[in-house]
């Protein structure tokens, strides 16, 4: 068993409670970040180390929680954590009002204070308060109980609470990424499925590298992964339960099955089936095991992805010559081509918000990552270079992760870029990494 999500959930959000507000004055216009604008000036935010705990180990956890939150907010590009060396007030008791003038002096707009308390049963109580420094009032306050080895999870949940309170958008930090870990020389590359927190921590390997594995995707419950695996015979779509480690080959067809992805309700898996020279899109009902053909072309139809309401499917096809993006009803039938720019388009993936489709665009020897609206309008390139490929959306649809190949003997790395295209970040992984897929929020 790789990890127990139910225990985690019980340990974290299920026993979250809100902290009573400490308001000095009635609410007025509050500190808020407008993330819908093209350029966002990052909000200066102060995050002194969480206080309390008993002993050095708890102090470490307090510092760790603060660092994880600070790292999340900074990477989002929307916040600018202030260097702790500049802090004037030293927070000792989070139940007392902060000295707001001290925080205004260093130009902090928001302040996060927190406390770790060891419970009699050994669990940790983690509390935080989010303050509007200029309005001198509390914006949010929560407490969480957890086993002490789950403190990173709590830090991500707190990060999401801060992000949501200050931007008005759902966060994306309490989430995971499944990807393909790559090792060894390029002509004998070993590929293993791996899973990690979205910030690159807690990497665990889900396969051993005996079989070549590609294109893993999360189920909406985040309990299962579907991917393509090369076993002894034809390459197959596999379902893997990440709690139990149970593996199941999907369907029994002649020819290869590949490029799988779950439906938003988790009841179906959509994929490509190869028959002779052609590849078409099929959907498998996981309960009845019924397989339904959705496209019927003498072409390569692949990389299908559902709209979040499950009503439509975007996919790539070379039915018109080069690879282009098409959209059809999830029951199949006529498909509309939506990509018309120069070059070819592939690996479309629908945003969880429903308002955008991200893709890989190829042309002039360059591979770019871009987005367009589901009607094909409003195309924007977020990043380009020798070889960028395979976008996946963060749960809130504001950030895209992809992999970048430098070419030659080296290997790929994972990157994130936000929808403005201005905030690009490398994701730390233990080795080469490709084919990322972002989970939904875990809680």
């Amino acid at each position: 068993m790789l990890f127990d999500r139910r225990r985690l959930l019980l340990g974290a959000s299920a026993v979250a409670g809100s902290l009573a507000g400490l308001n000095a004055r009635p609410a007025a216009a509050q500190t808020k970040l407008d993330v819908t604008q093209g350029t966002v000036q990052p909000m200066p935010i102060a995050l002194p180390d969480f206080v309390g705990g008993s002993g050095a180990a708890d102090g470490e956890i307090g510092r760790g929680v603060t660092q994880v939150i600070s790292g999340n907010l900074k990477r989002s590009g929307l916040f600018a954590p202030i260097d702790p060396a500049a802090y004037i007030e030293r927070i000792a008791n989070i139940d007392a009002m902060p000295r707001f003038p001290d925080w205004r002096t260093i130009n902090a707009q928001a302040l996060v204070t927190g406390r770790i308390t060891r419970q009699a049963d050994g669990r940790l109580k983690t509390e935080f308060r989010l303050w509007d420094v200029f309005q001198s009032q509390q914006l949010a306050g929560q407490q969480y109980f957890t086993g002490s080895d789950n403190w990173r999870r709590i830090a991500h949940i707190i990060s999401d609470a801060i992000y949501e309170r200050l931007t008005g958008e759902k966060g994306y930090f309490d989430s995971r990424v499944v990807f393909v870990d790559e090792s060894g020389p390029k002509d004998r590359r070993v590929k293993r499925l791996a899973i990690m927190d979205q910030d690159g921590a807690n990497v665990r390997y889900l396969t051993r590298g005996d079989d070549l594995v590609l294109t893993p995707r999360f189920s909406p419950s985040t309990q299962e992964i579907t991917y393509m695996s090369f076993g002894q015979r034809d390459p197959r779509v596999v379902l893997l339960n990440i709690e139990t480690g149970q593996r199941e080959i999907v369907g029994n067809f002649s020819g290869m099955s590949f490029s799988p992805r779950f439906s938003p309700d988790g009841q179906r898996v959509i994929m490509s089936l190869q028959q002779g020279a052609h590849s078409n899109i099929y959907v498998l009902d996981l309960r009845s095991k019924a397989m339904t053909r959705l496209t019927e072309t003498p072409a390569i139809d692949t990389a299908p992805s559902y709209s979040p309401d499950g009503a439509r499917i975007c996919f790539e096809s070379d039915r018109g010559g080069r690879q282009q993006i098409y959209v059809m009803a999830s029951s199949g039938g006529a498909a509309q081509r939506i990509s018309f720019g120069e070059g070819s388009y592939s690996t479309p993936v629908w945003s969880p918000r429903g308002d955008a489709i991200a893709f890989t665009k190829q042309g002039g020897g360059r591979f770019s990552i871009g987005i367009m609206r589901p009607d094909g309008q409003g195309e924007r390139i977020l990043t380009e270079g020798y070889h960028n490929e395979g976008p996946t959306f963060a749960p809130n649809g504001r950030v895209v992760m992809f992999f970048r190949e430098p070419g030659g003997a080296a290997g790929p790395s994972l990157y994130t870029v936000d929808l403005t295209g201005r905030n690009e970040q490398k994701v730390q992984t233990p080795g080469f990494a490709s084919d990322p897929a972002w989970s939904p929020l875990l809680s």
């Binding site: 070549l212 590609l214 790539e316 592939s346």
Partner: protein, 162 residues
């Protein structure tokens, strides 16, 4: 191009070695095999790789057989008719200049093209299977055309004798 051809030759030789080693499990030193590669035992895997040619190459994003590819496949068909005890796998491959899923499908198309050609030349379909590795198994590693052209290939891999 001359350079890439040279690369391919030496690669082919390395493959021949590996094949000879795997099947015969004999005590031959690799050096011995290399010395005698040109005079491989007729009907051996080594003979197929070295004297017939186990692979054909494709243009970028194409599944069309070139004249040279057809000539190679004619020789393959002739050899496979003669040594009908071999089952074999046609492996389709793509270069790295494409996205992963598409390249998987493109490699399958290339393998299918070879399969159909050999079938039309009288090779029993029951002896053949196809598989695609997309861009996952390059033989040449660099980021220019000399490598990509070697990686866009379909390789006929002889299996156990029946």
């Amino acid at each position: 191009m001359a350079h890439s051809k040279l690369n391919f030759r030496s690669l082919g030789l390395a493959l021949a070695l590996a094949a000879a080693f795997a099947v015969s499990a004999c005590a031959n030193k690799p050096q011995d095999s290399m010395a005698s590669a040109g005079a491989a035992t007729p009907g051996s895997q080594q003979d197929f790789v070295v004297n017939v040619g186990d692979r054909v190459f494709f243009e970028s994003d194409s599944t069309e057989l070139t004249d040279q590819s057809r000539a190679t496949l004619e020789k393959q068909a002739q050899w496979l008719r003669q040594y009908s005890n071999y089952a074999f796998t046609v492996e389709g491959h793509a270069d790295e200049r494409g996205t992963r899923e598409y390249n998987i499908a493109l490699g399958a198309r290339r393998a299918q093209t070879v399969r159909e050609y050999l079938t039309a030349r009288g090779i029993q379909a029951s002896r053949m299977r196809t598989v695609s590795y997309g861009k996952e198994r390059p033989v040449a590693v660099c980021n220019d055309i000399s490598c990509w052209s070697q990686n866009r290939r379909a390789v006929t891999v002889l299996g156990v004798t029946s």
